[in-house]
């Protein structure tokens, strides 16, 4: 079953070469993540056994796949967002076979990294994502897409090299012997002096991927210059690999050293949250606003990871899932608005809530995504942020307050944007916009439904990772002394 998850996108990506032009590439690209979702549901009900095949033993490389509460929800998220990104792709997109095959290769890389149980296999999958995503940005992006792609490639390449160095160091310096299997990496005995800098390399590698401030140089440009389906994948799934890596390699494998870096990560997270929110307020373009909003929310994620309490880590996984859905929804809706109005410049848009000539349904979903990002109760963002703040408060009270403040700023740019774009008069000279069709709305509708369902039923985001995050947590005793939050009492054991 695990192998099938990877074979499906690989086979489909290859099949794209011989697929007849027209609608077949799109249909094929829709079927694959759909099947992955079904497999993921099956795996949730009946966990799949590890798959272990020897590959290059002299390099320590095994084809070792496995699932746990950390990887499974992200496998589902990746499949879902791939499906939504394909569904949100315009029928008029040029060179569709190449586009969808690159999307599927990205999916393959993501699923491979999430299911990998071998350090080198993870690095290979991690690197595999870089090339297709770079091409997706460069070929199907906006005016400055080449510049964005080059910057993304450079940051990504550095991230990959640093990660490879960190993984190799982790194993070469292991007193128990060289092994790249996760189980061995988790129990590696390292020289005291090397632990801090190996963890530093991991933080740098995954911080670049996430991205975390101040390693975010590629992000606003890449998110704003990529086409909407690609931005949905980048913000919703690809960047989340950074969080997954920090959790798996940083907190998981280097747990006893984590506290050395945690304060710095917490401060970086807070700074990123405030910086992202303030920049979002200042933006005049919706794409860049959503990009900075995404950057800000990565700050909350970093805070939760830094705190590394059972609750905060559970919140981090929830935030990964929630933000994956919300940011994808935001980019999906912005793409729809751009497709219909021809612009994402805030100053050029107004009155889109007009019931007959505007885009009221689309704007409605946009509002839903914005208030979900602001953490309004009843939305998936609230569940994740509440648990992050609850979990982080005891360890990093001041950074938590800073992130709370930044979360409040989300409402500022959300209202500002919505007020300018949604209300006011439609421009008589320009506003002959075509309506959105139900087919175009469908991906955003599905994501909107998930935003609501996740808000009303917290186990959807919190229930997956409870046992894994509790094991990973570094501050178990501290948290154990506090009364259990009510939200956790409702979770299935």
């Amino acid at each position: 079953m695990l192998l099938l998850l990877l074979l499906l996108p690989l086979a489909a990506a290859l099949a794209m070469i011989v697929a007849p032009p027209g609608r077949w590439p799109r249909r094929l690209a829709l079927v694959i993540p759909g099947l992955q979702l079904l497999l993921m549901v099956r795996m949730a009900v009946q966990p799949a056994a590890d798959l272990r095949l020897e590959w290059l033993p002299q390099l320590g490389l095994d084809f070792h796949l496995g699932q746990d509460g950390l990887s499974l929800p992200l496998v589902g998220l990746t499949a879902l967002l791939t499906l939504m990104a394909v569904a949100a792709t315009s029928l008029e997109t040029p060179r569709q076979r190449l586009f969808f095959s690159l999307v599927l290769i990205t999916n393959l890389g993501l699923q491979g990294a999430l299911l990998a149980r071998n350090g080198l296999l993870f690095v290979i999958a991690f690197e595999l994502i870089l090339v297709p995503t770079t091409l997706l940005i460069a070929i199907w992006g906006h005016e400055r897409s080449r510049q964005a792609a080059i910057r993304y490639l450079l940051f990504g390449a550095v991230s990959g090299v640093v990660l490879l160095a960190a993984v190799l160091a982790l194993d070469l310096l292991n007193a128990n012997g060289f092994s790249l299997a996760y189980d061995d990496m988790a129990t590696a005995v390292l020289p005291e002096g090397s632990k801090v800098w190996i963890l530093g390399l991991l933080v740098l590698a995954f911080g670049l991927k996430l991205p975390a401030v101040p390693l975010h140089g590629w992000q606003p440009l890449a998110y704003s210059e990529a086409s909407s389906p690609v931005a949905m994948l980048l913000a919703g799934a690809v960047s989340k690999l950074g969080a997954y890596g920090l959790l798996r390699f940083g907190v998981g494998f280097m747990g006893d050293t984590w506290e050395a870096w945690a304060p710095l990560i917490a401060v970086a997270g807070t700074a990123g949250a405030v910086y992202g929110a303030l920049n979002a307020i200042a933006q005049t373009d919706m794409r860049r606003l959503v990009a900075y909003s995404s950057l800000g929310h990565m700050g909350l994620l970093l805070l939760a990871l830094a705190a590394a309490t059972p609750l905060s880590l559970q919140g981090a996984v929830a935030q990964v899932l929630a933000h994956g859905v919300i940011s994808s929804l935001l980019f999906c809706v912005v793409g729809l608005i751009e497709a219909k109005t021809g612009t994402t410049e805030i100053a050029e848009l107004s009155g889109l809530l007009n019931p007959l000539r505007g885009l009221p349904f689309t704007l409605g979903m946009f509002l839903l995504a914005l208030i979900a990002a602001a953490g309004l109760p009843g939305m998936v963002g609230f569940v994740a942020e509440l648990v992050v703040f609850q979990g982080s408060w005891t360890v990093f009270p001041l950074p938590t307050l800073g992130c709370l403040f930044a979360s409040g700023l989300t409402a500022v740019y959300a209202i500002r944007l919505f007020n300018r774009v949604g209300f006011g008069k439609l421009d008589n000279a320009k506003a002959f916009y075509p309506a959105t069709t139900w087919g175009e709305r469908l991906p955003a509708l599905v994501l909107s439904a998930l935003v609501l369902v996740g808000g009303l039923w917290p186990p959807l985001t919190l229930g997956w990772s409870e046992s894994v995050t509790a094991t990973l947590a570094r501050h178990q005793p501290l948290i154990a002394s506090l009364p259990a939050p009510s939200i956790l009492q409702e979770l299935p054991s």
């Binding site: 007009n354 019931p355 007959l356 008069k425 075509p434």
Partner: protein, 430 residues
């Protein structure tokens, strides 16, 4: 064609920004370009407008004459059968001047709609509450605009301040509240209160009598078009000009029926006529001026968005932004909703082919209405030119120049950026 050639040789071309439109008016045309689609649109909308208008004028007269000062006029939008059967003075066998060849009673499509609406047969009150009805709110907004904007020519408004009018109104007020010491006491304490309401009711009558003429005019135009009778937009405009002159002298009055007795608040003998006391103030108030839409747009008076002088108001249909139609609080939305029930099939077909089809039909319809009202305004401008200036084929260049100055002065009113005259020159504006 002969007229156009003679005029072109007599005068150099106009240098007005709307020179093309001026030239068209000088050739006896309309502000609206002559195209088969424009003709189809304006006639189609005249038909769709005339059916609710047939209800408007009947109910306006019902309110002015029967509901009168009812302090709780909850059923003012439910005219009695007597008013639905009221013979139109310009239709049917008994008409003094038969403009429409149809019957004098309420239009059959109107009666059918009042019975079933767009939903299904149910009690009138449920149709009303569901807004599955003719919306009188638009008619009242037009009446309010006429009442509120003053100094639009004619003697009607000034008459409402005269002692004769006050005495007639006072008599009617006392007769209406006879045996009601509370209301009579209020009238004694606040003598202007009911008087002002009666003035407003006089405008109900004024507008009702105006629309009583326009409904059969539009019905007849629709029938002529269906028979293939109009050659183009100018021909349709000429029909309107002829209609205006034919009924120009129609008396405007306000009678009220209290306990079976007819009291004349504005008697016919005062000599108020349709063209000067109803048609021209209506065009000025409703087509040009009106007021900012309440509800969705907040006009900032301190920022100069609402002019201090009422004559500078330019929110009428000739200037209106119809894009907000469909939004809450926009009165024309109700008019568009009224018209949409009676659209002829060929107009529905046009709307389905453009923009968002059925989804934004109300806005497309609003823009068609705007086009058609530019044609009606053209008819009024031509009628005024005929009444006050010279024939279009006048051999005297001085007279032609006077005509041109008149046309140019009329076009000056559309130089404002919000005027839609430029927009309606192209078919892309939908």
């Amino acid at each position: 064609m002969t007229v156009l050639t003679a005029k072109l040789t007599a005068l150099p071309p106009s240098t007005h920004p709307f020179a093309e439109v001026v030239q068209r008016l000088e050739a006896g045309g309309s502000m609206l370009p002559d195209s088969p689609e424009n003709l189809m649109q304006i006639i189609g909308i005249y038909k769709a407008y005339a059916v609710p208008m047939d209800f408007y004028w009947r109910d306006l007269l019902y309110i002015a004459e029967r509901v009168f000062l009812n302090p709780l006029p909850a059923f003012k939008y439910f005219p009695s059968q007597e008013y639905l059967d009221l013979p139109n003075s310009y239709a049917g066998e008994t008409a003094d001047l038969r403009i429409w060849r149809g019957e004098a009673g309420a239009h059959p499509e109107l009666l059918e709609f009042m019975e079933k609406g767009e939903t299904r047969r149910m009690p009138k009150l449920l149709h009303h509450l569901w807004h599955d009805r003719i919306n009188m709110e638009f008619a009242e907004a037009c009446m309010d605009a006429m009442f509120w904007h003053q100094g639009m020519g004619g003697r009607f408004y000034d008459y409402l301040e005269s002692d004769t009018y006050k005495a007639n109104a006072d008599r009617a007020i006392k007769a209406y509240f006879k045996g009601n010491p509370l209301m009579l006491g209020l009238h004694k304490l606040f003598p202007e209160m009911f008087l002002e309401q009666v003035r407003k009711l006089s405008y109900y009558a004024n507008l009702g009598l105006f629309w009583e003429v326009m409904a059969p005019v539009f019905f007849e135009m629709s029938d002529i078009y269906d028979e293939g009778g109009f050659s183009g937009v100018p021909a349709a405009m000429d029909f309107l000009v002829n209609g205006i002159f034919a009924v120009a002298g129609r008396p405007i009055y306000h009678h009220v029926y209290i306990n079976g007795e007819c009291l004349e608040i504005i008697p016919k003998s005062e000599g108020f006529t349709w063209l000067y006391e109803a048609a021209l103030p209506y065009v000025e108030a409703v087509f040009y001026r009106t007021a900012p839409f309440r509800g969705t747009k907040s006009y900032n008076a301190q920022a100069g968005q609402v002019p201090a002088d009422q004559a500078d108001f330019h929110y009428g249909i000739l200037y209106a932004d119809v894009f907000p139609v469909g939004s809450a609080g926009i009165p024309p939305t109700l008019l568009m909703q009224d018209m949409v029930h009676f659209l002829p099939p060929y107009l529905k077909e046009i709307y389905l082919q453009h923009r968002r089809g059925e989804e934004d039909q109300l806005i497309q319809l609003g823009i068609t209405f705007q086009r058609s009202m530019y044609n009606v305004t053209s008819a009024v401008i031509q009628a005024l030119r005929a009444a006050l200036f010279y024939p279009l084929d006048d051999p005297d260049p001085e007279h032609l120049l006077a005509n041109r100055r008149f046309f140019e002065s009329q076009m000056d009113r559309f130089l404002r950026p919000e005027a839609r005259l430029r927009d309606v020159q192209t078919q892309d504006y939908r």
